[in-house]
Symmetry: C2
Subunit: 404 residues, 2 copies
């Protein structure tokens, strides 16, 4: 079975017929169907599968414990109405690369593993990279178990319902000690490779990024009678902040987005009492990110004061930047160059399991060209030829790292 067949088999799982987008949330029925696909596909490749204590799936060519394993993989879960490629491309490419190496008669000197980390998107329980965070000890297991989904169901209950022993979750040093390197292949979530005319790229690092909650408080009032000069309307400083965030991002060579906003009480004929907004900001380095966020907060405070309102900011999350292991990156580049693949080096603003694992083991990433750059959307796409180029690149890297 090559890439195309594996891809076609996974494609319909968890796809919403109306939107064409995916709703593959961890520990749900579509997730179980994805996991069953993982086990079936591994079996056709003669790989031994297991599920670790945190719910991450592993398929082994050779057994861990035999040495310092080379692992590749990604995730199967999606954001709400996400695309087909973000996550699954890395898993399908991993299996396809293993299949290619097997058919070429390659004999690994070290075990090769294919991993599928659970809840990478955080779409169900709100914490991104939950599976890799648990395995590396980056999140407290008790805190994780009490995370709840939109229906109030805890991770503990969701895992129990799925037949897992939730009490076992947490840091898994023994498992990670067997992994010598982790290489994740992922669709690019931007257009850098398209601009450079390359099918495949190598990740340099992940930008530091975070989420800030901005609460603007004013005073509810009648929209039809309250003079402009008497108003304390929090929608006005909110709007000024949206404009300022875009400008600050441009000035700091970073990214700033406000994609979530809530107005209270939200009546069409009343001035709001409050506006709550979430700022997502990212930049190449922490100094730039500090400068970017500082400018947004300064603008928000100034506008709030100008309009007789108040503003409060909370850091909801912050993830430090990741520089992937330089030695591994150079070795990946060498393996690709030896196969005639020219792969530019890029940084990304998106978080990935590879970034979490990088704290414990040498990790790296390959990106596959995304012609439009669109991601987290049903319109997300990569050309079949570029997917095959990704498989070839991943196979070359695995052969080099796991070679005799």
């Amino acid at each position: 079975m090559g890439f195309a067949e594996m891809w076609a088999e996974l494609l319909p799982v968890g796809r919403d017929e109306r939107t064409g987008g995916y709703r593959r949330y961890s520990w749900t029925e579509p997730d179980a169907a994805c996991r069953a696909w993982f086990a079936r596909t591994a079996a056709t490749l003669d790989l031994a599968t297991e599920c670790d204590r945190n719910g991450n799936l592993w398929a082994w060519w050779g057994r861990s414990g035999e040495g310092s394993a080379v692992v590749t993989g990604s995730h199967l879960d999606s954001v709400p109405d996400g695309g087909a490629f973000d996550g699954p491309l890395g898993i399908v490419s991993a299996f396809a690369a293993v299949g290619r190496l097997r058919s070429e008669g390659f004999r690994p000197g070290r075990p090769i593993g294919v991993a599928a980390f659970i809840e990478e998107e955080g779409a169900r329980f709100g914490v991104a990279c939950l599976g890799s965070r648990l395995a590396t000890g980056a999140i407290d297991p008790a805190a994780a178990l009490s995370l709840r989904d939109g229906d109030g169901i805890s991770l503990a209950d969701a895992m129990t319902d799925a037949g897992r022993d939730a009490a076992l979750i947490g840091r898994d040093d023994a498992l990670l000690a067997d992994v010598g390197a982790y290489v994740e292949l992922h669709i690019e979530q931007g257009r850098a490779l398209a601009g450079l005319g390359a099918a495949v790229g190598i990740a340099d690092g992940i930008w530091p990024h975070g989420r800030w909650r901005l609460d603007f408080a004013g005073r509810a009032d009648h929209a039809g009678t309250t003079r402009l000069s008497d108003r304390s309307d929090p929608m006005l400083p909110y709007a000024a902040t949206v404009v300022a965030a875009r400008q600050a991002a441009a000035e700091c060579d970073g990214l700033a987005t406000i994609g979530k906003v809530r107005a209270d009480p939200g009546a069409a004929n009343a001035i709001c009492s409050a506006v709550h907004a979430w700022l997502d900001a990212r930049a190449p380095d922490e100094a730039s990110l500090d400068r970017l966020v500082g400018r947004v907060i300064e603008a928000a405070e100034g506008a709030a004061s100008q309009h007789g309102t108040r503003m409060h900011v909370d850091t909801e999350s912050f993830t430090a930047g990741v520089r992937f292991d330089a030695a591994l990156r150079q070795r990946m580049a060498g393996a690709l160059a030896a196969t005639g693949i020219s792969a530019p080096v890029l940084a990304t603003g998106a978080g990935h399991d590879a970034g979490v694992l990088a704290a414990k083991i040498p990790a790296g990433m390959l990106f596959v060209r995304n012609p439009t750059g669109v991601s987290h959307s049903p319109a997300e796409h990569a050309e079949p030829a570029d997917c095959e180029a990704g498989v070839a690149a991943l196979a070359a890297v695995l052969a080099d790292l796991a070679g005799q």
Copy 2:
């Protein structure tokens, strides 16, 4: 019973203990309690009460049919978590004015009526001034009966559950033919009287006003990876439109408010695919309102285009301006002047039953000073002395209009 006692008896009905705001929605239990209060209070004043076909309450001093009645009143229902004064002040003041005239030995030459119109706020069924619109034929009875509240209950079912015959609702020419003039006393929903140092004012008219829905459409994308130049982010033109609306309102001497906004899909880490916003706009005359709304739409279209997004606008509602009957207004001013009350003339941006009734019968309004201008909020307030001044003013007007 004077104003203070009547007021104190109505005050606790339908008040939410947590917010201190009122939730007096038509055809609910708090509404029934308000209606029982209306009947009890009318009885202490020897007034004959009746409920018309549309559910509006009437209390008569002298009987309609005896001549061209002088009616005063307002409404008992509230917006969600509204204040104590918007509506009830007009009813309590009406009863208190009747009580004052009775105790002074006044003998009306024409019947005097006190009316309480149902669903003025439109808080339950979404159409403001529903009771007066039904009576004047401004809304089709079949359309009204199929209006539904937030729980999906129709007006027809709500009226039936309250023991009313819903099939009877609609235009009531016979009732209105008996009304020679309607005068509504209302708390001011702004600070004009406070600025002028007057306890009471006379309404000139109601500004034309409307609601426009603005839909900004862009493209959902990953907040962490999509370059600024690749974005089609509808939040940016939305923000520019909020800023432009405020500026247009100031330039056109009108009011513009965006108090309701929805971002799709509304994820903190995704660029929105769409932003939906509702513009409430009002101005002293239709030409000014047209100019104001035209500037907002022009700015919205320009910003949408600048950011690679699309904008569509729909007029959700439009209410023409009302000029209250000039002869009635002059007569009210004369009656107040004769009693030594100086009452400035003001326009308002808020709709009222008096504005709906004005299409059929001479109508006018008195406003009572609101020191903060706050309305549609638990903080809405009028000083007791100003409420008493309102009662005195209303009594003087009724005595003049209904005098021998």
